[in-house]
Symmetry: C2
Subunit: 329 residues, 2 copies
C-alpha cells in the first residue's frame, strides 16, 4: 500500500511517501480502507522527537481515520466489510497516513452520515479528548462556567460546543482577529478574551465576581497553564492536555481544594484499559453531528502525499479547527 | 471563658492560657460547651507561620470539637441545648482550644455514643479529610489497591479503615517499629512497607505487576509526593493533603492520564460552599464508630492548659493516631 512513513525524527520533510506492506491485523481488529485522516499536534510532536514515549521506527503517523471496513478479525462481531466507520487509531501502532489501517474494532463507531470523510476524520481524536476532559474528568454541570483555552483550535472548537450542549457558560481565549471572529460568530461563545490585550486570569475572576473559574480546559501549557491554576475557583477542576508542571503553585492549589487532571485520550486504550470507551464516545459524537448539534470545522485539506504540508500548517499554531488529509479523494 | 490564645506566631510557648470573652455566635451557629478537642498538624502550622492564609490575631486554635450544645442561633432547627455533638470548627474562625466554641450548625453531627469526648474529638478533621479524599475525590472502588502514606498517623489510620470498609486492598508506609506494628497488628493492613529499608515506589509497582497504584493518598509531601506521582498507574488518582508541587513530573503524569487532587477539608465550608457536607459525612462516621466498624486511636491526652505539649507531641511526627486535648476532664 502507499503510505507516508517516518524513518527518523525531524522537520516535516522526514515524512516519506512510499510503498509499505499492509498492516498486520489482530483477531480483535478491523482493517479499514482509509478515506481521510487528519493532522493533530501529537503527529507533529512524534515526528519531531518521538513524543516522549518509546516507539519503533519506521512508523506511520495519523491518529484519526474515516473510511470503510474491508476485513474483520475472527473475534469481531459488530462490524462487516463495507461498513463506514471513524475512529482514533492506537497511538502506539501504525496510524492512518496510509491506504489501510488496522484498529481495535471496539474503538470505532459508525461514521456520521451527514458529513464527508474529511469532516468525519476531523472528529475522533479531538472529540475523545474534549469529551473525556469535560465529561469524564471535570464532570461539568449545567450552569457552570467553563474556560476553554485556544477556542479556535482543534480540541478547543469541539470542547466549546460540547460545553454549550451541556448547558455550561463558556469563556474562551483567542489571539488573532480571525480566531476571535470564529469563536464569537461561528461558535457563539459567551465571552471571547483577546489574550493580546487582556489578562485572561484577571478577566475570568472579574466575570465570576472574584470566585474564579470552576472548570478550565488548558490546551496550551506554560504560562497559560500557570495562570489557569491561579484563576481556578475553590473546588475548581483544571484539565490539561499538555504535560505542564505546577511550578510553585501547589500551596495555592491546596488552599483552593483544586483538582488537576492530566488528559491524554489514547493512553488507556493503548493499554487495553476500557477498550469499549472510545467507540461509545464516538457513537455519541456521530449522533450529535448527524443531529446538527456538533459541527467540526476543517479549514485545510491536503492529499496524503502532501501530509508534510499539513504538519507545517498545524505547526503554525494558527489553524482554525482542523487540517484534514485526503487519502482517497 | 478560659482559652488558649495565639497573639503571635512561633514555637509552642506562644500559646497562652488566659481569659477571653465568649465567642460571637451567628444565627446559623450553635454554641458548644467544649469537652474535648485535638491537635492536628494544621494547628502547628498556623501557630508557627499563620499557615499561609490571612488570619487576624489574636486567635484561638483547635479544629476538632466534641461537646454539648448550650445555645442555638435563631435559624438553627436541627439542634437543641443539651445535644451532644462533634464537628470540625471553621478554620478561619476561633477554634475549640477554649471552654466554648461557635460553629455553623450544619457542620456538626450527633456525637458517637460509644466513645468518650476525647475519642470523638479525635475524629472530625481527619475523618472529613480521609472521607473527602477517598470517596469524593478519588472515588475509590471495591477491589482497588490504595496506597496510604504514614498509615499510623492521624489521617492515615482513619483512611486505612475507610478504604478497607469499602473493599479496597490497602498498602501503607511506616518508618518506626511501633508504627509498623500498629499498621500490621491493629489496623491489619495488607502490606506495610518499611520505608527505611524498602523503596515504596518500587515495591508498589512490584505488588501491582508493574501497573502502578490506582489511588495514592499522600499525607507527607516532598520526595514522598514525587515518588507517589511516579508509581501511580494509568488513570491513577493521587490525593495530596500537603501543597506539594509536581517538579518535572508533568509529562509523565500526562502519559499516564493521572489526576491530582489537592484536598484541604475545611476550605469549601469556610466559604459557605456545600455547608451541609461536613455534617453529613460526620453523621456517617458516627454510625461507623457506634457500629464498631471504625476506631479512632488516641495515643496522647493533655488538659487544655497543656495544649503546647500537645503541639510538641504532634510536631515529633511520631504520634500513633491522635493527640487529644481535654477541656472538661
Amino acid at each position: 500500500m502507499r503510505a507516508v512513513v517516518l524513518h527518523g525524527y525531524g522537520e516535516p520533510d522526514v515524512l516519506k511517501f512510499e510503498d509499505r506492506p499492509e498492516p498486520v491485523s489482530r483477531d480483535t481488529d478491523i482493517l479499514i480502507e482509509v478515506h481521510a485522516t487528519s493532522v493533530n499536534p501529537v503527529d507533529t510532536k512524534v515526528r519531531k522527537t518521538g513524543g516522549g514515549a518509546a516507539r519503533a521506527l519506521p512508523l506511520i503517523l495519523g491518529y484519526d481515520v474515516s473510511g470503510v471496513v474491508v476485513r474483520c478479525g475472527s473475534r469481531v462481531t459488530q462490524w462487516k466489510a463495507g461498513d463506514e466507520v471513524f475512529a482514533a487509531p492506537n497511538l502506539f501502532r501504525d496510524g492512518a497516513n496510509a491506504e489501510y489501517v488496522a484498529i481495535d474494532a471496539r474503538s470505532a463507531a459508525r461514521k456520521p452520515v451527514s458529513v464527508d470523510h474529511a469532516m468525519a476524520a476531523a472528529l475522533p481524536l479531538v472529540c475523545q479528548t474534549a469529551w473525556e476532559a469535560l465529561h469524564l474528568r471535570a464532570r461539568i454541570q449545567p450552569g457552570q462556567t467553563v474556560l476553554i483555552h485556544a477556542g479556535a483550535g482543534g480540541v478547543g472548537h469541539i470542547a466549546i460546543q460540547l460545553a454549550k450542549l451541556h448547558g455550561c457558560g463558556v469563556i474562551t481565549t483567542a489571539g488573532r482577529d480571525e480566531s476571535i471572529a470564529f469563536c464569537r460568530d461561528v461558535l457563539r461563545v459567551d465571552e471571547v478574551i483577546d489574550y493580546r490585550t487582556t489578562d485572561f486570569a484577571e478577566r475570568a475572576r472579574e466575570l465570576t465576581n472574584g470566585k474564579g473559574i470552576p472548570v478550565v480546559l488548558d490546551t496550551v501549557g506554560g504560562e497559560v497553564f500557570l495562570k489557569s491554576l491561579d484563576c481556578a475557583s475553590v473546588n475548581g477542576q483544571i484539565v490539561t492536555i499538555v504535560g505542564s508542571n505546577t511550578a510553585d503553585r501547589g500551596r495555592g492549589l491546596l488552599y483552593r481544594n483544586v483538582t488537576l487532571h492530566y488528559e491524554f485520550m489514547g493512553i488507556p486504550t493503548a493499554q487495553e484499559i476500557e477498550p469499549e470507551l472510545p467507540g461509545q464516545i464516538l457513537a455519541g459524537i456521530a449522533n450529535l453531528v448527524d443531529s446538527g448539534l456538533l459541527k467540526p470545522h476543517v479549514s485545510h485539506r491536503f492529499p496524503l502525499e502532501r501530509v508534510a504540508d499539513g504538519h507545517r500548517q498545524v505547526e503554525t499554531g494558527h489553524t482554525i479547527g482542523k487540517t484534514a488529509i485526503l487519502v482517497r479523494p
